[in-house]
């Protein structure tokens, strides 16, 4: 299979302005094209992640953005996979290039987020698990994050102070990031005073929802080589967009119950472990090869789970790894050098692409004060509702 490379990346800063999501997306797309030294007319395929709270234009985000950038007749796709949407769009673009159907693809994610908890659409839909969990249980996203966090505390002896230490680290990482929404260093005391949202998690443990956009220019290896003068490209070594394997006995959003373990062999590994596993396999790389990682810290505690899911340490070892400084900038394998969702808040279809923008800058040595020394291999991982895993590995 032919090699695919990232020739340019661009973002619109994260924030909360309530403007049209496509406006952010156009800014990010133009930045990515400029970074690649290309113009919109060079693009042969456009893949976008959808947004579900912005009317019809959000359902067809690819077409909305293609129109805003100027209709050029090219094929577009608009995919949705919750938090993994950006990675699924990247996956579609990569296949298109590998198939020989395009040399240059533009991948865009952009969102305008409502305030407060994400809630389901109006209506009465007992067969929609997302509706059901809200209606009968009040099980918001933070409820699930709290269930995972409490589980960590009970099984591994994690404490709220451990979770706070993740927040302190990520808020420090994000301080100098011009695209971050929050550039404020949190202290443990401030965190301890933050109101409890879903015990054991406090407000500052849980990521906000943001407006923002990120875009990538993906090209074939040959095209990148011919245009290398424009930009330093990085290699897409793996894209994993796996789903669970039955029986998925891990509790996952938005379900109110897991699969039953009766009557079928357990899958070779738990779903969250399988996401990175597939990417390592494709890239022929191991956790020890990573220079840095961007993981989806929807909550502080979840970042610790990811350390284990991506193989940085054994189950139960995340707290020690964190306190060793290994995952802090300057450590062995900095995690969320961008500042993570803690500094950005989540812009659903853009976030997985923002992770890749950060890795690209890191691998190019262009991350400024956030730079991970000698970065050669970066991993980005997340998980969306309804069984959407996504993991991308980039190499310089």
């Amino acid at each position: 299979m032919s090699d695919v490379r990232i020739l340019g990346v661009g973002m619109h800063p994260w924030g909360k302005w309530g403007r049209n999501f496509a406006e952010y997306g156009v800014v990010a797309a133009r930045a990515a094209l400029a970074d690649a030294g290309l113009s919109p007319s060079d693009v042969q395929y456009l893949a976008a992640g959808n947004t579900m709270r912005n009317g019809y234009p959000g359902y067809v985000a690819g077409s909305t953005l293609a129109q805003a950038l100027g209709w050029s007749g090219i094929p577009v796709s608009s995919s949705y996979a919750a938090c993994a949407s950006g990675a699924v769009a990247l996956d579609a673009a990569r296949a298109r290039i590998r198939a020989g159907q395009a040399d240059v693809a533009l991948v865009i994610g952009a969102d305008t987020a409502p305030k407060g908890f994400f809630g389901p659409l109006p209506g009465d839909r007992p067969e929609d698990p997302d509706w059901l969990r809200f209606h009968v249980l009040g099980a918001t996203n933070p409820t699930y994050f709290a269930l995972y966090a409490r589980r960590r505390m009970e099984c591994f002896g994690a404490t709220p102070k451990d979770f706070a230490a993740v927040k302190v680290k990520n808020s420090r990482h994000g301080l100098s990031n011009p695209n971050a929404r929050y550039r404020k260093l949190f202290t443990e005391d401030e965190i301890a005073e933050s109101p409890i949202v879903a015990d054991p998690l406090r407000l500052v443990d849980i990521c906000a929802t943001s407006d923002g956009a990120a875009a990538l220019v993906l090209t074939s290896a040959d095209y990148a080589a011919a245009h290398e003068a424009n930009s330093r490209s990085v290699r897409v070594a793996a894209v994993s967009t796996v789903t669970p394997t039955y029986p998925n006995t891990s509790l996952d959003l938005p379900d109110i119950a897991t699969d039953s373990g009766v009557g079928a062999p357990p899958p070779p590994r738990a779903f969250r472990d399988s996401i990175a596993h597939a990417a390592y396999e494709e890239a022929s790389l191991a956790p020890s090869d990573l220079s840095c990682a961007e993981v989806y810290d929807l909550s502080t505690a979840l970042e610790l789970d990811w350390y284990e899911n991506i193989g940085l340490c054994e189950p139960g070892g995340a707290e020690a790894l964190l306190h060793s400084g290994a995952t802090t900038l300057g450590g062995r394998v900095p995690v969320n050098p961008s500042g993570g969702l803690a500094s950005f808040g989540e812009a659903i279809p853009a976030q997985a692409l923002a992770q890749i923008c950060e890795l690209t800058w890191q691998l190019r040595g262009e991350a400024g004060e956030r730079q991970v020394e000698n970065a050669r291999v970066g991993l980005a991982i997340n998980q969306g509702l309804f069984g959407h895993g996504s993991c991308v590995i980039l190499t310089s």
Binding site: F117, L137, T140, L147, P247, T249, L251, V262, G263
Partner: protein, 144 residues
């Protein structure tokens, strides 16, 4: 006495004073489903074409829990003023599955511990002129 009305039909019963979750069971491979949702088995290795209606175990062990301090958005029927509520994840031994439920009224989340026995109850979630709208909840059980 006000009538008791399930907040969603078909997911649980309290007939005979016994709280029960109503799910599906595959007679071919033995898998359980809650909610039942489909008429067929979701085990890809199984060719079972129909699921039986089945009651799930009413006891299990606490897998994790959370205590919510902010009112969720609709369609949660939040009371005004808002009352914090706990959510428990309970592992059913026979079914080998985890099922969520609110913590029963009066449960102190501070006094819970991993693996403790929990039992299913049916309680009002909210009340209006039509009656008491009920839901299943998990309550510390087994004499604790």
């Amino acid at each position: 006495m006000k009538p008791r009305i399930p907040v969603v039909a078909g997911l649980f019963t309290e007939d005979g004073g016994q709280a029960r979750l109503l799910g599906g069971h595959c007679p071919r491979c033995g898998a359980w489903f809650f909610p039942k949702q489909w008429s067929f088995c979701r085990n890809p290795h199984c060719t079972g074409v129909t699921l039986d209606d089945a009651e799930l175990s009413s006891r299990g062990r606490l897998w994790s829990w959370a205590d919510n301090r902010y009112a969720p958005p609709p369609p949660y029927p939040a009371r005004d003023p808002f009352v914090p509520y706990g959510v428990a994840a309970v592992e059913l031994a026979d079914e080998q599955m985890v099922v969520l439920g609110q913590l029963a009224t009066g449960t102190d989340p501070e006094r819970l511990s991993l693996g403790q026995e929990m039992e299913l109850v049916v309680e009002p979630l909210f009340e209006d002129d039509d009656g008491l709208h009920t839901v299943w909840k998990w309550k510390p059980g087994g004499g604790s």
